[in-house]
């Protein structure tokens, strides 16, 4: 009789624990795939929603191509920063559109790409405060974004600072959900 009395109580507690665990797991998975973050206020929408420099971006990209940087699969956006004359250069490097990093012959490919977008005649006329690179995989899914202030890029390029200083100035964000879904084969083959 006492056995039948304790059984339902244990079952309820167990159910609550299971539901709580499932909820916690669901939340973690949702954060992992960056779902809640999509509904949070976006600093970019607040600061970078002005009219982009379209023609200037085309010229900057053309000048990078002329300087020997392969620009296939690159879309460049130069976004004005609200309330200032400065801007952010945001390059989408899309492997699904044919982008591959060029061989840089001993230079850091990330800084070499950033430098190329910053040092052409058109870019030098503009007040570009930061350069961001948004890498997308073979399916066009965003994997990571790296961003550095222009002065850190130029200082590293001219040899004034070393790689440690440049990487300290570099900010990055990865999209773990797309890593997992898009690059799973790459990861597993790398482990094997």
């Amino acid at each position: 009789m006492s056995h039948t009395r304790t059984q339902p109580g244990f079952g309820k507690a167990c159910l609550i624990v299971i539901v709580a665990l499932l909820l916690a797991l669901g939340l973690l998975v949702a954060f992992f795939f960056r779902i809640p973050q999509k509904f949070l206020p976006s600093p970019a929408k607040e600061l970078l929603s002005g009219t982009p420099y379209r023609e200037e971006a085309e010229i900057v990209l053309e000048e990078a191509r002329a300087a020997g940087i392969p620009t296939e699969g690159i879309s460049l956006y130069i976004l004005p920063i609200k309330g200032t004359d400065a801007s952010v250069a945001y390059a989408v490097l899309d492997a699904s559109q044919g982008f591959t990093f060029a061989s840089t012959g001993g230079l850091n490919p990330v800084s070499a790409m950033m430098q190329a977008l910053l040092t052409g005649p058109q870019a030098e006329q503009m007040d570009i405060a930061r350069v961001s690179l948004d890498y997308r995989n073979d399916e066009g899914k965003p994997l990571f974004v790296v961003s550095a202030p222009s002065d850190a890029i130029l200082a590293f390029a001219s040899g004034e600072t070393d790689q440690a200083a440049f990487s300290a100035a570099l900010e990055a964000d990865i999209n773990p959900g797309n890593f997992l879904t898009g690059e799973w084969d790459t990861i597993t083959s790398a482990i094997r």
């Binding site: 973690l28 954060f31 992992f32 960056r34 973050q37 976006s42 600093p43 970019a44 929408k45 607040e46 600061l47 970078l48 929603s49 002005g50 009219t51 956006y77 976004l79 004005p80 920063i81 609200k82 309330g83 200032t84 004359d85 952010v88 945001y90 989408v92 492997a95 591959t100 990093f101 060029a102 061989s103 840089t104 001993g106 230079l107 490919p109 990330v110 405060a129 930061r130 961001s132 948004d134 890498y135 994997l143 974004v145 961003s147 202030p149 790689q163 440690a164 990487s167 300290a168 570099l170 900010e171 990055a172 964000d173 990865i174 890593f179 690059e183 790459t186 990861i187 790398a190 482990i191």
Partner: protein, 228 residues
């Protein structure tokens, strides 16, 4: 446990190297070394190469840099998506204006959707205003041009906005002339306003006298305009 965490970190770096598989072995090694150096300097891995708690926080939540411009520069992919959506709507609207006869109502509907997508983009408001003038809705166009100007908080932005307005109105004028002998008189009136606005912008690249002459010319054309 530490070995396991080190393995995870190593796999991460191998994966990063895969992205630059088009590069030489030397370049790939550079990228891996760079990724390690970045992860160390940002507290993502320890000196022994194992991921820290911050690595978990970055994976699940992302981390603010503490600098709003840096955060915006990283998050700008959301703005890019927005720009591309609006661009599609604008190009749809442009197609309608090139139809024979132009389908201005449909063009303006597409521009309305583009403005809703990017309400802070003065370029799109300028473009809608030019189309509104072409369809004879001068008052709404004036409101759009005024709103577009109010979105600019710096002198440099105002210059870009007025230059863009002049270009759009000049293109509209050409298009209207191709379609018949008469044009919407509001086009001349707005061009006159734009030339007067740019005349007072302080920029030594500008030929202020030429702008003054253009403003007078447009004023005359607006007075004698018979309209469509």
């Amino acid at each position: 446990m530490t070995t396991f965490r080190k393995t995870i970190a190593s796999v991460m770096f191998v994966v990063i190297a895969m992205f630059v598989s088009g590069c030489s072995v030397e370049d790939r090694e550079l990228v891996v070394a760079f990724a390690r150096s970045w992860a160390e300097s940002h507290g993502v891995i320890n000196e022994d190469g194992s991921p820290t708690m911050q690595a978990g926080a970055r994976v699940f939540f992302g981390v603010s840099t503490g600098d709003e411009i840096a955060d915006a520069a990283i998050d700008a992919g959301r703005v890019i998506k927005n720009i591309n959506e609006a661009d599609e709507l604008v190009s749809q609207a442009e197609q309608y204006t090139y139809d024979d006869p132009p389908q201005m109502d449909k063009a303006i509907d597409s521009m309305n959707a583009a403005v809703r997508t990017r309400p802070d983009d003065w370029g799109i408001r300028n473009q809608r205003a030019a189309m509104l003038i072409e369809s004879g809705q001068h008052d709404q166009a004036r409101r759009d041009f005024d709103h577009a100007r109010s979105l600019c908080q710096t002198n440099h932005c105002q210059k870009r906005q007025i230059e863009n307005k002049i270009q759009l109105l000049a293109d509209s004028l050409d298009r209207q002339k191709e379609q018949g002998p008469h044009v919407q008189c509001g086009t001349y009136t707005e061009l006159e306003i734009a030339y007067r606005e740019i005349e007072i912008v302080d920029d030594n690249r500008y030929n202020h006298e030429a702008y003054r002459q253009n403003a007078i010319l447009m004023q005359g054309l607006a007075r004698t305009c018979r309209g469509r």
